[in-house]
Amino acid sequence: MSAEKNKVKTPKKKQNFGVYMKRYWQLYAMLALPLIYLFVFKYLPMVYVQIAFKKYSIVQSVWKLPLAKNHGFEYFIKAFGNNDFRYALRNTLTLNLLDLFFGFPAPIIFALILNELCFQRYKKVVQTITYMPHFLSWVIIYSLALQLLTPETGFINMLIEALGGTSVPFLNEPTHWIGSYIAFGIWQNFGWGSIIYLAAISGINPELYEAAAVDGAGRFRKMWHITLPGIRPTIVVLLIMNLGNILGGGFDRPFAFQNNLVMKVADVIATYVYRVGIKGLQFSLTTAVGLFQSVVGVFFLLMANWLSRKLGERGIW
């Protein structure tokens, strides 16, 4: 679409533009809706980023709020002096990195495996079943986790005990909790995440495989030399987007999984902002945290993009 747009911006004659628009205006009409959505819900709210630098009041217009102390940086200083924020920052980074490390390759590997299956119907069934968890909310997944993993009453722990082992504190001991958290994250998302890779794989020219077969390449050779390079651009784009989100991440998952015994490793920025900002009414403080989070996110995004272009990939722009 952006390519089209560029075309419009450089019309050779004014008339051309008119003719062009006459022919394609319907497309632009359709494009307008998502643009309006983006503008209203993503750009307009940015006006209120200034709350981070001001002493917020619920009744005054944001433009008239007085500047916070320390040239407006009072809340940033406060946030970084706060233990909970530092924990939340650390946990966000740790959990997201672990997610990236274990969770990012999972759908790729799964897509590769799925692609090698010859029974089409079986493949379809497997695919459908694996992406179903994506539609479950985290609250539901947590209650499933409770039923399965609670010591003494959870199904898996009862199984372990019946087999003569000792029950494992999957949800109530910090290290185990991290493992469960990451595992459930992968479980929920790998099927769904593989769809885009499968689509990319199906776009690979079958002649390549045929040529490779003629050259005597086996399955693994084909995977390594054709399939993987074929989906490399997709992998890179997704990796960049994931890196941009390294300080972000959803709210529902950590919020649903948290409990009082593991808060030290489970409190992330999103839940911290919810608790302190929305429940504790410290809007300026948490806007500052949110702004920091976004700035770091943009930094990672730019860096990953730059790196991927350096390495000869396309990047996202």
Binding site: A29, K64, L146, L171, L281
Partner: protein
């Protein structure tokens, strides 16, 4: 052709959404342009903050103008022209409840307010369990009800600090003669409960609590009988009883023996073990120490609390308590366990097993286990003086009513508070119509019965409607005392009576230490309650060897997250107002 129509539609919707966007754009800017008008009062209120004298002179002056007008406006308590106000009401989302905004009781209020004061009342429901968040949104969007209610005073203070709340002090004085019922019912104590000692501001009026009973321990009478035990009267006997429950699970639960929970608890340990924790507190605690440690109503920083938790930790590791209680996201699972009959004892609100009519704990037990199964109140926990000390609710310090700055009808709103403080009105709201929601017994006592449809009270005794009164009052203290035991449909009055008596035994009434607002308390309430629960939960579930380490670390975390700052500021304020004294004058 079809394509054309479709694209026309799309384009049309785009134009509309553009227009709508422009509209919303102009509304977002409009408040900015309009606010100066609405802001003038807001601009005044911050002036009340600095402790200087001058704003004081300014404030009443500003308030006097409408007052002079308004008193002229009222003839026999009625406005010449109909005024309109909106009032917050909690929506508890009860299964099969009545519409919180339109039911028999709201109609009664609407009719009465129109007749007595020519004020049209509209109710606005706010979900009970997210009230603070919701009121917050409503305030921010300028749509808050004219009369807001909350249990959380720090929340009101935060709004007031932003200039979002009307100072009631001048209004209450000015219109005193128009508000006889309000002043008679609440008295100076409740009305001035939150008066700032320096600036004289009153951001909220405290409702009056008519029942002070708070937390009681309950035990399964039928289990005691089956094992031939007496109700425990000391902490040790209580423990022995739990051990007996645990060891006789087969007798008590048969095939379900594995589900036995001798003592149940939730992740809110500070509440659900309150009687135990209070029994460890130094009976000679000074007002000063209590105040300094008093920000947390679960006593987490009280020095002796650690030993109470150590006892709980021992019970937990001995298999006497509900396992992994901290993993449950809410209380539904525990409710089900109690109702199914797996739980031997617990502590909770003094009337917990009697609440909710047909769905009460005791009604469920009778259905699921047998007619003899029921929870009864006991009083086992003794402190070092041999007393059964328990904290009560104070008579004030309950729900707080406040008027947001968007309230254009402060007088009409005050008249509303006056209206619902009339004894007759409280009585009707609490007990409804005879034959429908209550019967009158021969003794004259009121027996509450289960109502249907419009007449269903969404909260016990309609406390959500009677925002200036919490607890059975029935318009007459004697009648209330006589009827207390009959307040729960389907429940043996003796059980209620016993629980109520035990709840009051050796009760400690909290005192109001009014030293103005403590700055360190702003905005940290939720963080600290979360930390407090973490401290309790982690320590109770720790292994015995780790107990000290876990508790000390959690408390250190609590203190460094703002707990210590609050205690320090409270100590400084105490010194400022009371000097070296350790007790309140």
């Amino acid at each position: 052709m079809k394509k054309r129509i479709l694209s026309m539609l799309l384009a049309g919707s785009m134009v509309i959404s553009l227009a709508a966007c422009g509209g919303s754009g102009s509304t977002t800017t409009a408040p900015a342009a309009e606010t100066p008008a609405a802001e003038t009062p807001a601009a005044e209120t911050p002036a009340a903050e600095p402790k200087a004298e001058e704003p004081k002179a300014e404030e009443p002056a500003a308030a006097e103008e409408p007052a002079a007008e308004a008193t002229g406006e009222l003839t026999d308590g009625k406005f010449a022209e109909t005024r309109k106000i909106t009032v917050e009401v909690y929506d508890r989302g009860n299964d099969g409840g009545s519409d919180p905004e339109n039911n028999m009781y709201t109609e009664f209020i609407k009719k009465g307010m129109l007749e007595q004061h020519n004020v049209e009342v509209t109710f606005k429901k706010v979900p009970r369990w997210t009230e603070v968040d919701d009121i917050n949104n409503l305030l921010a969007s300028g749509q808050a009800p004219d009369i807001c209610v909350t249990y959380s005073y720090p929340t009101i203070l935060t709004y007031a600090d932003m200039g979002g709340v009307i100072d009631l002090a001048p209004l209450l004085d000015q219109y005193k003669s128009e508000l006889p019922n309000l002043w008679a019912w609440l008295g100076d104590e409740n009305i001035y409960w939150d008066k700032d000692p320096k600036t004289g501001t009153v951001w909220a009026v405290e409702g009056r609590r008519f029942e002070q009973q708070r937390i009681v321990t309950f035990v399964r009478q039928d289990w005691l009988d089956k094992l031939g035990l007496q109700a425990p009267t000391t902490t040790q006997e209580f423990e022995d009883m739990l051990v007996a429950f645990r060891d006789n699970a087969d007798t008590l639960l048969g095939a379900d023996a594995k589900k036995m929970v001798p003592f149940s608890i939730s992740k809110d340990v500070g509440w659900r073990a309150s009687n135990i924790i209070t029994s460890f507190m130094d009976p000679a605690i000074s007002d000063k120490d209590y105040y300094i440690n008093g920000f947390d109503d679960r006593m987490v920083t009280e020095p002796q609390t650690k030993e109470a938790v150590r006892l709980l930790n021992k019970w937990y590791n001995d298999g006497l308590m509900r396992k992994n209680f901290s993993l449950a996201p809410d209380d539904t699972e525990e409710d089900d366990m109690i109702k199914a009959g797996y739980v031997g004892a617990f502590q909770h609100n003094w009337d917990m097993p009697f609440r909710n009519g047909d769905d009460s704990y005791n009604a469920n037990l009778a259905r699921n286990v047998g007619p003899e199964a029921k929870f009864v109140a006991i009083d086992p926990f003794t402190n070092s003086d041999g007393k059964h000390a328990k904290w009560l609710y104070s008579t004030a310090g309950d729900r707080k009513s406040f008027f947001p700055i968007t309230n254009q009808e402060p007088l009409a709103s005050l008249l509303y508070l006056d209206f619902i403080s009339q004894p007759d009105v409280i009585k009707y709201l609490q007990i409804g119509d005879e034959g429908v929601t209550h019967d009158v017994l021969d003794s004259g006592a009121i027996q509450i019965k289960a109502a249907e449809g419009e007449a269903i009270q969404n909260s016990g005794k309609n406390i959500d409607m009677t925002i200036t009164c919490n607890g059975a009052y029935y318009g007459d203290a004697n009648l209330a005392a006589l009827s207390l035991s009959y307040g729960y449909s389907g429940i043996d009055p003796e059980l209620v009576d016993k629980a109520s008596k035990i709840a009051m035994t050796d009760g400690l009434t909290p005192k109001n230490v009014n030293v103005g607002s403590i700055e360190a308390e702003a905005g940290v309430g939720d963080t600290l309650s979360a930390k407090r629960d973490q401290a309790y939960d982690q320590a109770v579930e720790a292994s015995a060897a780790d107990f000290d380490k876990v508790w000390d670390a959690a408390i250190a975390d609590y203190l460094s997250s703002g707990g210590q700052a609050i205690m320090d500021e409270r100590a400084a304020k105490w010194a400022e107002y009371f000097g070296d004294a350790t007790m309140l004058p």
